[in-house]
């Protein structure tokens, strides 16, 4: 009940936030005129501004935010650790590396098709589980190896970047910061289908994954197929974060704020003993929507990458999380 009400409240908030985000920025639009332009009335310049420039960013933000929120929720549950995110475990780096390898191998094709990043993310997830010798219930091992893996992959990306032709390197770099600048529907139109499917599987998985909060014996005695559920969750999470990276670059930057914060906030909202995948997805969507809107205007006329901005929040959020924990223990 509490989870449903929270979800409903979040959906309403997001719907209310969309006209505000469409109106924010140069052009002197009010939410009302922005909404009118969205539905095609008003002068041509305004309609293009709202439909052609801002709407794709809003849609991108919502989709990647939801994907990252859900992915973070799954990974934190499997690793049994609040600090486990696609970024920290090297899954985002795997996606970034795959995109860079594509740029190397197929010059002149831009950043490559949308499915390159999810494949890189999945490959990184498989390497991670292979190196950890299975997923394991304690999660600590997978976390340590993930951190090492992400540093390793990141350094390969950095090395590649220094070899890459300047114009390509700039494109990959900007993309790797997680900016929604220049978003259009070309990637989103196809990627939204796998994202939706993966989200549906993730939400259904949430119900099974609650048992992972118990010790291994009890979880299995209550009917959990622990190993299968862990594999499924990690696969879906890698797919979701890979797709998000494919659409917009590794939004969340090194800290992975969206994937980190959304599940924590979601757990607070829905209460103990749940794996709130859907609520985490909605919070993620809202965070990226707001972050990207702020990134557009905060240093106007220049833009800050949404990823860089979320990292600032991310650092503060992790500090708050740690201080709160210490307070509870002490």
């Amino acid at each position: 009940m509490r989870a449903r009400l929270t979800g409903l409240a979040l959906v309403v908030t997001i719907i209310a936030a969309i006209p505000l985000c469409l109106a924010t920025g140069p052009g002197g639009l009010s939410p009302r005129t922005a909404l009118a332009a969205l539905f095609g009335s008003g002068d041509g310049g305004r309609v293009f501004l709202v439909r052609g420039l801002r709407l794709p960013r809003v849609c991108d933000a919502l989709v990647i935010g939801a994907a990252l929120g859900a992915a973070g929720c799954l990974i934190q549950t499997v690793a049994r650790n609040r600090l486990a995110t696609p970024a920290i475990l090297g899954i985002n780096e795997g996606a970034t590396l795959a995109v860079m390898v594509w740029v190397f191998c197929v010059p002149g094709s831009g950043l490559g098709p949308w499915w390159i990043a999810p494949i890189g993310a999945l490959a990184a997830a498989i390497v991670l589980v292979g190196l950890s010798g299975g997923i394991g219930m304690r999660g600590f091992r997978v976390l340590m190896i993930g951190i090492a893996l992400s540093i390793l992959l990141r350094s390969i990306v950095d090395m590649g970047m220094s070899v890459l032709a300047v114009n390509h390197a700039t494109a990959v770099y900007n993309w790797s910061l997680g900016s929604l600048l220049g978003a259009d529907f070309s990637r989103l139109r196809i990627a939204v289908i796998p994202v939706t499917l993966a989200l549906a599987v993730a939400v259904a998985l949430g119900r099974r994954l609650v048992l992972l909060g118990f010790d291994l014996t009890t979880a299995r005695a209550l009917g959990a197929d622990v190993q299968r559920d862990q594999w499924l969750a990690l696969t879906v999470a890698a797919l979701l974060s890979g797709l998000a990276v494919g659409i917009a670059g590794p939004v969340g930057g090194p800290v992975g704020f969206v994937a980190l914060a959304s599940p924590v906030a979601a757990s607070h909202l829905v209460g103990p003993g749940r794996v709130p995948v859907l609520v985490a997805a909605l919070i993620g969507a809202l965070i990226v929507l707001v972050a990207d809107t702020l990134a557009r205007v905060i240093a106007a006329p220049n833009e800050i990458a949404a990823g860089a901005l979320t990292s600032v929040f991310g650092g503060l959020f992790v500090l708050w999380l740690l201080y709160r924990r210490t307070g509870e223990i002490g």
Binding site: V210, T217, L222, P272
Partner: protein, 265 residues
């Protein structure tokens, strides 16, 4: 409802934890599993609950091998209360006991009145109704153990496996819990419980099964099985076995060994 364990052998790597065990337990029967630490009692419970795949032998519930069923189907028939269970953070007692209904629910079958009834009944049977809203972290060890027992009862299975259900309880609460276990056996459940307190085990179990090094060392009515020789074989202690003044149940009284003077110095 009969539980049959046929020639069961369970290995952890090179170590044989359960060695060719034969056991049959009828509906309504309470079996107390006793033996020294590391003799394979817990492993046997885990193997029965389909948590550990045996190297050889089978576990049959109503003539069906538990390994032919899916984990969730087994969880509807066999409940296991683990020795040191851990719950998700911040859970309340009622929140925990509701998880006993988890194997009975599906993606589209959500919370029903039958689920709610099972939870309320389990809370009442374990005397936890008044504490239902408390968080687990706020409970005493004994209360937490009763909350876990309530979870296993709410699972509403025909087989109840309990790994040291009274280890954290004072004598009064231990007898309350064992009384509650006896009631659920009387209602037709099959109960196997690991116990360390022989004197309590003999009072509440219909049958005592003593394990040693993975094998069944002795099995039978508590009055017949419990002897000074058993205490010597299982625990390596000198003990007298006397009969309780009231009901004649055997009582094991260990003889205090004169300790070597430098044992702890």
């Amino acid at each position: 409802m009969t539980l049959q364990v046929e020639n069961l052998t369970v290995e952890y790597g090179a170590h044989t934890a359960v060695d060719n065990v034969e056991l049959q337990v009828a509906a309504g029967e309470i079996v107390a599993l006793v033996g020294p630490n590391g003799c394979g009692k817990s492993t046997l419970l885990h193997a029965i609950a389909r948590l550990h795949r045996p190297t050889a032998g089978r576990v049959l519930l109503d003539d069906v091998d538990v390994w032919t069923r899916r984990p969730r189907d087994v969880a509807r028939r066999i409940a296991l209360m683990a020795q040191a269970p851990e719950a998700p953070d911040d859970l309340s007692v009622a929140g925990l006991v509701r998880f006993g209904r988890h194997p009975h629910q599906g993606l589209f079958h959500q919370w029903s009145t039958a689920d709610e009834q099972a939870v309320q009944q389990a809370l009442a049977e374990t005397g936890m109704t008044a504490l239902a809203a408390r968080r687990l972290a706020e409970l005493s060890g004994g209360q937490r153990q009763r909350a876990w027992l309530a979870t296993a009862l709410a699972q509403n299975t025909s087989v109840l496996l309990l790994d040291e259900p009274t280890s954290m309880l004072d004598p009064g609460h231990a007898m309350d819990v064992l009384g509650c276990i006896r009631d659920s056996a009387a209602a037709g459940r099959t109960v196997i419980m690991v116990m360390h307190d022989l004197n309590l085990a003999v009072r509440y179990a219909h049958r005592l099964v003593a394990m040693r090094r993975g094998r069944i060392h002795a099995s039978g009515k508590p009055g017949a099985v419990v002897t000074p020789a058993l205490a010597q074989a299982l625990y390596g202690i000198e003990a007298d076995v006397i009969n309780a003044p009231r009901d004649g149940a055997p009582i094991v009284v260990p003889a205090v060994k004169p300790r070597a003077p430098d044992a702890f110095s």
